[in-house]
Amino acid sequence: MAKHHIEAIVNGDAVEFLCETEETLLDVLRDTLNLTGSKEGCASGDCGACSVTLDGRLVCSCLVLGCEVGGRRIETIEGMAKGETLHPLQQRFLEHAALQCGICTPGFLVASKALLERTPEPSEHEIRFWLAGNLCRCTGYDKIVSAVKDAAATMRKG
């Protein structure tokens, strides 16, 4: 059957694309819209490397169909820095060396941003539970948690 014609807002920009029913939002972002910051880790919703927000709600883009997102707002890692200015989370991830290979990092950043928008002063417990769906095989998580705490403090100061 014919491809679906979808119009959506990605990182504030109106986009339109064609997709097959079986294509996930992650497939569309990476292969059609060339937004390759979102990564495919497990393709089953376990690793969080493909995290994006859909109408402000954190989801795994591998578990959303491209044809479901008509008329909706999607935010990806590509929308996080403003021009050359990194988001405080990105800055703190660098300073704390909260990454090694970097594959999980876009997902951690998008997920952490969604946390801080809801909870400006999260406890370590809250950070760890919120990020339980983001897997990292390099850092051991401590540096990520420290970076998120530090970024939260920076953002509270405005």
Binding site: M1, T21, G45, D46, V64, L65, C67, E68, L115, G133
Partner: protein, 286 residues
């Protein structure tokens, strides 16, 4: 593969009834998309029910709560009033997967995925929830314990969907709780799940109770003997022992990589007791 997102229940039912090949309902997609990816299912038609307003609403009805089948775990968590009335149902739904999965996973999907280990199902059964189904013959209500017949087997007829759940009115001094055992702290499938809902009379004696166990049989169980074991008591030590014995007697688990028959049976007794104590404590202060 065809994708349809009708805006009415009737539209969804008509599409599913007319399907000649395999058809699947899409709610949050956290099971369906994984199964499609793994080639476990290869539907010809996908009917997305999230554009149907009824499936996406939480509202008070006849003194109880009506929860749409496609309301997400994250939305339930943010619903302060529902959480006060049914903390066990909401905490069970919130145990499903990660934050990301909570953004999509639904009660309807958790039930219709047909897993005996589904976390929200024992809590719904303990709550006395009734599923409202819609099909080619119209609507019917079915207690949640009668929806799932066995692993991946549902009582739904061709063309039928779960539209919503109705949680009954809550008398004073009532509450519920859900506990599950997993070998890690987060993001795992229940080895055992236990849901308990109870009501106390003015003197603090249990006047009504429902107990449900997950992952200890081919379907989620409503354990009436366990409820009978504590009704009329204040959940003192002998009542707790009777409750544990009844929970244990109801278990018909399998041995698998998640746990042995013996382990699951033991854990079911412990979790049932602990969930009952939490529900009791909540009911006293509700």
């Amino acid at each position: 593969m065809r994708y349809e997102a009708p805006e009415s229940v009737e539209g969804a039912v008509a599409l599913l009834s007319a399907a000649t090949g395999e058809a699947r309902v899409l709610a949050g997609g956290t099971d369906l998309l994984v199964q499609m990816r793994a080639d476990v299912v290869d539907p010809e038609l996908i009917v997305d029910i999230k554009k149907i307003a009824e499936t996406r609403a939480v509202r008070e009805e006849k003194g109880g709560w009506r929860i749409g089948a496609a309301v997400t775990g994250a939305e339930l968590k943010e619903h302060a009033k529902l959480k006060r009335a049914w903390p066990g149902v909401v905490e069970a739904a919130n145990l499903i997967g990660s934050t990301q999965v909570q953004g999509r996973a639904t009660l309807g999907g958790n039930l219709c995925n047909g897993s005996p280990a589904a976390d929200s199902v024992p809590a719904l059964i303990a709550a006395g929830a009734v599923a409202t189904l819609a099909g080619p013959q119209g609507r019917r209500d079915l207690p949640v314990e009668d929806v799932m017949l066995g692993p991946r087997k549902l009582a739904l007829k061709k063309g039928e969907i779960v539209v919503s759940f109705l949680l009954p009115p809550r008398p004073p001094r009532s509450s519920d709780a859900y506990l599950r055992f997993i070998p890690r702290t987060e993001m795992d499938i229940a080895v055992v799940g236990a849901g308990v809902s109870l009501t106390l009379d003015g003197a603090g004696t249990i006047s009504a109770a429902r107990v449900s166990l997950g992952a200890v049989a081919a379907r989620v169980l409503l354990v009436q003997e366990a409820a009978q074991a504590i009704v009329g008591s204040r959940l003192d030590a002998p009542a707790q022992r009777r409750l544990e014995a009844a929970a244990r007697a109801a278990c018909r688990p399998i041995d698998d990589k998640r746990g042995t028959v013996e382990f699951r049976t033991d854990v079911a007794a412990v979790l049932t007791r602990r969930a009952a104590l939490i529900a009791l404590d909540r009911a006293r202060t509700s």
